[in-house]
């Protein structure tokens, strides 16, 4: 009997290990929030933030996960950073008080603590986005999710793509409405290494 109990324990131990919450730290070189807005109702203007940090936790057995992102708003980049003959470049304008107001609000954060799963895979993250000192709910749909070992350093990693949308006016960013659309599409590509 004792031998059987020990055997069962030995069999379940690896499963218990799998069920434990796993913590990951985001890789800032492969984690970039992108955004897209409509310009004059004609084209989409794309931009991204070059510096983002954060972490996520996933517990597949308990179907729980969380995500924390901290975005350096001064790192906003649309590719238009040379003012040329204009008084300012688009990136300079985005950093000023009309848009991201980086001198006053150097960080934008997302704290996602309600995650819906599709099987073992996180499908939707709902949390709170804080931008310009205003906190509002935001849901990101996880469109891609994968976990594997980094082929070079063999470290276990997970990551994927998530997307969502928000109304910038909800956060007090009302400059150039409606010429620049109120709706902002968000696309976050992220990768994290297990702690």
């Amino acid at each position: 009997m004792k031998r059987m109990t020990l055997g069962a324990l030995a069999l379940t131990l690896p499963l218990a290990g799998l069920a434990a919450p796993e913590n990951y730290t985001l890789d800032p070189y492969h984690t970039y929030p992108h955004f897209a807005v409509e310009h004059f109702g004609v084209s989409m203007i794309w931009g991204r933030f070059d510096r983002t940090s954060g972490k996520f936790m996933i517990d597949r057995a308990a179907k729980k996960a969380s995500l924390e992102l901290t975005v350096n708003t001064a790192s906003v980049s649309t590719g238009d950073n040379d003012k040329g003959s204009r008084p300012r470049s688009l990136d300079e304008h985005l950093r000023n008080a009309d848009f991201f107001n980086v001198a006053e609000f150097p960080r934008m954060t997302f704290k996602g603590d309600s995650v819906k799963f599709n099987g073992d895979i996180p499908a939707e993250v709902t949390g709170q986005l804080t931008l310009l000192g205003v906190t509002r709910p935001l849901t990101l749909k996880v469109e891609r999710w994968a976990c594997k070992d980094n082929p070079f350093n063999k470290k276990p990693m997970c990551g994927g793509n998530a997307s969502g949308s928000l109304k910038r006016s909800d956060f007090g960013m009302k400059y150039a409405l409606p010429a620049v659309s109120d709706e902002v599409r968000l696309y976050v590509g992220f990768e994290g290494y297990r702690d």
Partner: protein
């Protein structure tokens, strides 16, 4: 009409000018025509529609302080006889208030940088308010100074990459221009008082300081703007009142134009 009011140029020029003119004319019997600047500015703030008390950002604190300046100015005009110390007291008060307005930005700097910037802000705001308020007895010079301060701070802000502060500054200039127009037509019986001089100088100082901290307006542009209340004191010839208003405005625009030129040069990478 709604579309027209949504246009940034209308919001920061025609709208505050018309509202300022109406306010100056309606408040003439109360000798509070100087509230034209506050009325025109408030109209623009409402039209732009970006005002709320939560979160109270630096730009919004600036609007709150503009409202406080208008109230305090009107109270001073109605209840007190301004002395030569009035400008200094109000200057010190709004110099201190500028620290409150920009505390969230200063708090993110190193202690030394915050101290230097804070001292500069207090000195600039205190000087501009004290020197402009002391023009309260002279509607021609006060109106010209308010016009140049508003337009100077506004255009410099646009050149320094802040459209919202630019709109606010130009609105202040347009509303002050409406006041000056009434002075040109009706003469010295249109009182500038503390209601015009305090509102215009406090708002212009805060807009320019905000454009320096939140955008890319150089400190040298603020120094040039600080010369407006000095240049506007240059002697005026004995000519009709409207001509004196034009001349005083030209004097004031030498300093305000200099501020805009410095902001424009800084945008091209040239600094002094």
């Amino acid at each position: 009409m709604r579309e027209l009011l949504a246009h940034p140029i209308v919001q920061s020029s025609a709208l505050p000018f018309v509202v300022g003119l109406l306010a100056a004319a309606l408040l003439l019997p109360l000798r509070l025509s100087g509230l034209a600047a506050a009325a025109g500015f408030a109209a623009t703030v409402m039209a732009v529609g970006n005002f709320a008390l939560e979160p109270l950002t630096a730009t919004r604190k600036l609007v709150v302080l503009g409202g406080a300046a208008a109230l305090l100015g009107a109270l001073a005009d109605l209840a007190f006889r301004p002395t030569r110390f009035t400008g200094m007291v109000l200057g010190a008060l709004f110099g201190g208030a500028s620290l409150w307005a920009f505390a969230s930005i200063l708090g993110q700097k190193s202690p030394l940088e915050a101290a230097l910037l804070g001292a500069g802000l207090v000195a600039f705001t205190a000087w501009l308010v004290a020197a402009t308020v002391s023009l309260h007895y002279d509607p021609v010079r006060a109106g010209a100074a308010a016009l140049a301060l508003g337009l100077g701070a506004g255009i410099a802000s646009v050149l320094g990459a802040s459209a919202l502060l630019g709109q606010y500054g130009m609105a202040l200039g347009a509303a002050s221009g409406a006041f000056l127009l009434l002075v040109m037509v009706l003469g010295a019986r249109v009182a500038a008082g503390t209601s015009l001089t305090l509102t215009a100088s406090a708002l212009a100082a805060l807009i320019a300081a905000g454009a320096m901290l939140l955008a890319q307006v150089p400190a040298t542009a603020l120094a040039a703007l600080a010369l407006v209340p000095v240049l506007v004191r240059l002697p005026l010839p004995h000519v009709p009142g409207w001509m004196q208003a034009v001349l005083a405005s030209v004097y004031a625009f030498v300093a305000a134009g200099g501020a805009c030129a410095l902001a424009w040069l800084a945008g091209r990478g040239w600094t002094i």
